[in-house]
């Protein structure tokens, strides 16, 4: 019907419109801060203007005198009431802003002002004065006072540096070598919806309305902090106005607001300003890379070494750790990797869309492009030479790998053969034209998940799972899965998500949701089918009686075996039930026996793409055309083409949109996004959407997404590889490659700005 709804190819579902589309275009979709709460009081945060030191005194008299102020909560006021936050699992940081007076980073919460109105709370918050004993902060890379530690073992998520063979020996044999450094900046997610928490207590139970990618994890984390049983905590997040990792781990504010509501005996809402979100939420850590790559003249890579440095806070060892992926990308020969953490006076970073791949694959793919130039090879052909069906670290096969198919389809659609090789050889008037490409990759992770499905005799289906609609279309694809397995029309399915009182689902991160949720929904539906089929075949006089259940199918509300059919409603009548409900627990192959119990406790056991007998990755190829003005050197992306293979595509419409959005994220990453630091004070400077630039409509012109047919039965029962984080991985390096082609300038540090090209 239109470009937004591509016709399904093999192993793809229908491009149905989103199940919640109407709600979203009418304003009826309620995001957490939209949910009406009676008698709600408004809270505003007071934050620190210093990055390191100690809060010595808080002056709140003037603030308390503002009419309408109800409460001011400051350091010491939570003692005995709130447990300290913890880093890891569902918690973003161990920094406990109101438990102690130590200032760990710029913009740390020092007080909370609660008032009758938002206006009064804002006025009073501006009147709170704080005295600090300031110490000289370390802002990050290169600052005096930073601490550098090995990442391996510093976090349970990063036990060791992957390696294979003898790098030094192989490096010595290389005929052509690349030895370069790369860097990526601090970035903030900036979802459109502001961060907010609304907490209401009723009879010892607390309900928290907050956009979350992990309601079950938060429920448990919050219960621990509030010192109540998890059964008394409910986290509600019906719609999420963008997440990108920012709403994965719970930040300290959530428990503080819940505490404020308990203390006040009244619901409290806090909508955090965009500026304050830069320091009270998480961000993408700044990284540096040193890559050595050695190849033979025929293009075969024989040695690859990737060393990374990542910024984190003083108290928390957040590890990005992208060498796990870069070490497995190509058939390198010998591989050596190393990752170090650089600890500075900063808030704790966390996941942001393709957390490891965005920075690490950027460095790798830039080096690949440099090597192709050094070898005088076409960059696509260079990748073809080093393509492999066996990953080099443990020698395991890939469950499927359609990388070169992606390259070929994307190159064809892009018109790669029209590219002339010489630097600056393509021009359009005063604009230098450059073309480049790069590989996108993302591991296929999958996690334990539960779901409940109910089929009623009138043919309606309800799916419940505590996953999260963050814009991915998870409600839509879960409905499609249920409709398909139960032979019902899409419109007959309703889906409930975003509530910790539903059967638990994993964090909506790591591109796991479609695979995990659809596998659980499928399992519940199959249990319903089994009951229906059993009833149909064991009936004495039914049209399907005596058949084997395995011979039955279900379509259009009927149980079918060849020409013999029975309406589902008839079978249910025969069973004497008005509805069939099944609850299913899906645990990925290789999960521990406690995986589901742990999911309920908010402890996630994600099975990563590298685990198991085969390595499970999704791949893509991205091509970019840039235009750079010969005089003023601004870079504009005129065309983007990406081809991606991600196993079964549940819905080509939502898949295309997500990949397209990812590619555009990559444009932002390449050309615009960086959170700038005032080095002397270790404070962020450009903390709003005026100065932290993300692409606007006019930045984006021609974008083409190709969904490459791929079937992979090894990844999970649904056959789905995640793609939410695949699209943005390749773009930055492809842009850098195109910029080089246009100008001859190799920009190794993101973002690529005018000043780099003058």
């Amino acid at each position: 019907m239109n470009e937004a709804a591509p016709l399904p190819k093999g192993n793809m579902g229908e491009p149905v419109a989103r199940i919640d589309a109407r709600l979203k275009v009418t304003g009826d979709a309620r995001y957490p801060a939209d949910l009406p709460v009676r008698d709600v009081a408004h809270a505003v945060l007071v934050t620190s203007p210093i990055a390191r030191g100690r809060l010595t005194q808080l002056h709140t008299e003037a603030a308390r005198a503002v009419p309408g102020v109800l409460d001011i909560i400051a350091a010491g006021d939570v003692d005995g009431e709130l447990e300290r936050p913890q880093f890891g699992n569902s918690g973003s940081t161990s920094i406990a802003p109101l438990h102690d007076r130590r200032i760990w980073h710029d913009g740390q919460i020092v007080a909370l002002v609660v008032a009758e109105t938002f206006e009064a709370a804002s006025e009073a918050a501006a009147l709170v004065r704080a005295d600090f004993q300031a110490e000289e902060p370390s802002s990050g890379f290169g600052s005096p006072g930073i601490e550098i530690i090995p990442a391996a073992g510093a976090s349970p998520l990063y036990p060791e540096n992957p390696e294979a063979g003898d790098f030094d020996a192989a490096w010595a044999t290389a005929e052509i070598s690349i030895d370069e450094t790369y860097s990526t900046p601090t970035q903030h997610h900036n979802p459109m919806e502001l961060f907010s928490t609304t907490a209401s207590w009723f009879d010892g139970d607390v309900t928290v309305n907050e956009s979350s990618q992990n309601v079950t994890g938060w429920k448990n984390t919050l219960a621990r902090q509030l010192k109540v049983d998890p059964e008394h905590v409910r986290v509600v997040s019906p719609y999420v106005g963008g997440a990108f990792g920012s709403r994965g781990p719970m930040t300290p504010r959530t428990a503080i607001i819940a505490h404020a509501a308990r203390r006040l005996g009244r619901p409290v809402r806090c909508v955090v300003t965009r500026k304050q979100a830069y320091t009270t939420q998480t961000y993408r850590a700044e990284t540096r890379h040193h890559i050595r790559m050695g190849a033979m003249k025929d293009g075969r890579i024989v040695a690859f070494r990737h060393e990374g440095w990542e910024l984190t806070s003083r108290p928390d060892n957040y590890v990005v750790g992208g060498t796990g992926t870069t070490a497995r990308m190509y058939g390198y020969g010998a591989v050596e990797t190393k990752v170090s953490l650089v600890k500075a006076d900063r808030n704790t970073p966390s996941y942001m869309r393709s957390p490891p791949e965005t920075p690490y694959v950027y460095a790798l793919e830039n080096a690949m492009d440099e090597m192709a130039v050094a070898l005088a090879m076409d960059p696509v052909e260079f990748r073809r030479v080093n393509d492999t069906m066996t990953e080099p670290i443990e020698g395991k096969p890939f469950s499927s790998r359609s990388l070169m198919e992606c390259y070929d389809q994307a190159a064809e659609a892009f018109g790669w053969n029209r590219r002339t090789r010489g630097i600056g050889s393509m021009r359009d008037g005063d604009w230098l034209v450059g073309m480049g490409c790069a590989t996108a990759v993302y591991p296929t992770n999958v996690a334990p998940c539960t779901a409940r499905v109910r089929l009623t005799a009138d043919g309606r289906i309800r799916v419940q799972s505590g996953s999260h609609e963050i814009g991915t279309g998870i409600r839509t694809v879960a409905a499609q899965m249920a409709a398909e397995r139960l032979g019902a029309p899409f419109w007959s399915v309703e889906v409930e998500m975003g509530d910790s009182s539903l059967p638990p689902a994993p964090v909506s991160g790591g591109s796991t949701s479609t695979a995990s949720v659809c596998s659980a929904v499928m399992k519940a539906c199959d249990a319903i089918r089994a009951r229906l089929f059993h009833a149909a075949v064991t009936a004495n006089d039914g049209p399907l009686s005596g058949l084997a259940p395995a011979d039955l199918g279900i379509a259009d509300g009927r149980i079918v075996a060849g020409a013999r059919v029975e309406a589902v409603a008839n079978a249910m009548e025969r069973m004497g039930v008005g509805e069939i409900e099944e609850y299913a627990e899906f645990a990925p192959e290789g999960s521990s026996a406690d995986a589901i119990a742990n999911l309920y406790k908010g402890k996630l056991e994600m099975r990563m793409g590298e685990e198991g007998a085969k390595v499970k990755y999704a791949f893509g190829a991205e091509f970019v055309e840039v235009r750079i003005h010969r005089l003023t050197r601004e870079t504009r992306v005129s065309r983007l083409v990406g081809a991606f293979a991600a196993g079964r595509i549940m819905n080509p419409r939502t898949a295309r949109s997500q990949l397209m959005g990812g590619m555009i994220w990559g444009v932002g990453c390449a050309l615009h996004e960086a959170t700038e630091m005032d080095r002397h004070s270790a404070r962020y400077v450009n903390t709003d959407l005026q100065d932290y630039l993300v692409p606007v409509n006019a930045d984006i012109q021609d974008v083409k997404v190709i969904l490459v047919e791929e079937k992979d039965t090894d990844v999970n029962p649904a056959g789905v590889k995640g793609l939410g984080e695949l699209g943005n991985v390749g773009t930055p390096a492809a842009v850098a490659s195109a910029v080089y082609h246009a100008t001859g300038k190799r920009i190794r540090d993101l973002p690529i700005r005018i000043e780099d090209l003058l």
């Binding site: 203007p49 005089l631 400077v685 450009n686 630039l693 692409p695 005018i754 003058l758």
Partner: protein, 340 residues
């Protein structure tokens, strides 16, 4: 935000009179306890941030005087009422044809929503977007006189290289103002002491020792009209804005050019620079360099050298000198090549 009183007078005289009656009427306008508000796009933003802290707002958005909302073209030029919205002016046919530099500068100045709200008078008087000025937790001489300047040794990529002082390097971020400089416009103002007219190029003051004193206006003085003299050659005028992204961003560098060409030679030219200076900046040295000679990439380059002879970069904004030069060359060539 502090509580504030709100008045909505119907006449200009009354509006100015309300402010004139205040005890601090002699304060520099940005520090006055009473502030005029029209579109609100700059004032409301800065009040939320605590940068502006008036306790009285005088809403001039509905003043009855029709002249304030009129665009009047005549053989003598074009007169723009101060309450004309940016989007109205940019769509006006007389302006688009006769003064493309105005339409282009307004069109690129902000989003359509903001241009639908903002008045021309308010746009001219917009305050800097310096990050250190906008966040009240930093030291800023412009916002809080005498407190220091955190931008000076901070992250100053977007800051000015022209017209700076050791007290302030904040950039003037407007676009329309450069067009007015290039067109030799003047402004008419009204206060209880009567009306006056001044060259637009005289309106803004360099930061010097007093960066909080931004214009020649008094707190109770309102811009009423912008007067652009007739210049047949203003049809050959152009605004080039270089941004980090394609739209909805402030200039990293911008250039307004009005060019009088005769047989390929520059009979007259006026050039103003934006995004590079602390005030709307006339590049007179560049104009002088070009007058009487041919306009090509070489002569434009010489003019660009002259324009930045006095530039003073800081740690992160030195590139603005080379970018400014290149932008000036590009703008001159693009203006030369216009079909008029």
């Amino acid at each position: 935000m502090r509580p504030f009183g709100f008045e909505r007078p119907e006449t200009l005289e009354r509006a100015a009179g309300i402010v004139a009656a205040r005890e601090d009427r002699a304060a520099p306008p940005p520090l006055s306890s009473a502030q005029f508000i029209a579109g609100g796009t700059n004032m409301a933003d800065y009040m939320k941030l605590g940068v502006m802290r008036p306790n009285l707002l005088v809403d001039i958005g509905r003043l009855a005087d029709p002249g304030l909302r009129r665009i009047a073209a005549s053989p003598d030029g074009i007169r723009l009422g101060a309450l004309v919205r940016m989007s109205e002016a940019e769509e006006n046919a007389d302006i688009r044809i006769g003064y493309p530099v105005i339409a282009e500068s307004l069109q690129q100045a902000a989003s359509q929503q903001i241009r639908n709200m903002a008045s021309l008078g308010g746009n001219i008087l917009q305050r800097t977007r310096c990050e250190y000025f906008r966040d009240i937790s930093w030291a800023c001489n412009k916002r809080d006189p005498g407190s220091g300047c955190a931008a000076m040794d901070g992250f100053n990529r977007q800051h000015a290289v022209l017209g700076v002082s050791d007290r302030c390097i904040a950039t003037y971020h407007g676009d329309f103002a450069q067009a007015l400089i290039a067109l030799d416009a003047s402004v008419e103002t009204q206060s209880p002491r009567g009306g006056r007219t001044m060259a637009f190029s005289e309106l803004h003051r360099l930061p010097g020792e007093t960066p909080h004193v931004e214009t020649q206006l008094m707190a109770d003085e309102l811009i009423t009209l912008i007067d652009i003299p007739a210049k047949p050659w203003a049809r050959r005028s152009h605004y080039l804005k270089i941004r980090d992204r394609q739209s909805y961003a402030f200039a990293v560098a911008s250039v307004a050019v009005v060019l009088d060409l005769e047989d390929g030679a520059v009979r007259d030219v006026r050039i103003a620079l934006g995004g590079l200076a602390t005030v709307p900046w006339r590049a007179q040295e560049a104009e002088d360099e070009l007058k009487g000679g041919p306009l090509d990439e070489r002569t434009a380059g010489r003019a660009a050298e002259a324009a930045f002879a006095g530039a003073m970069p800081r740690e992160h904004n030195a590139f603005k000198i080379s970018l400014g030069r290149q932008a000036l060359v590009r703008a001159l060539l693009e203006t030369r090549d216009m079909r008029v």
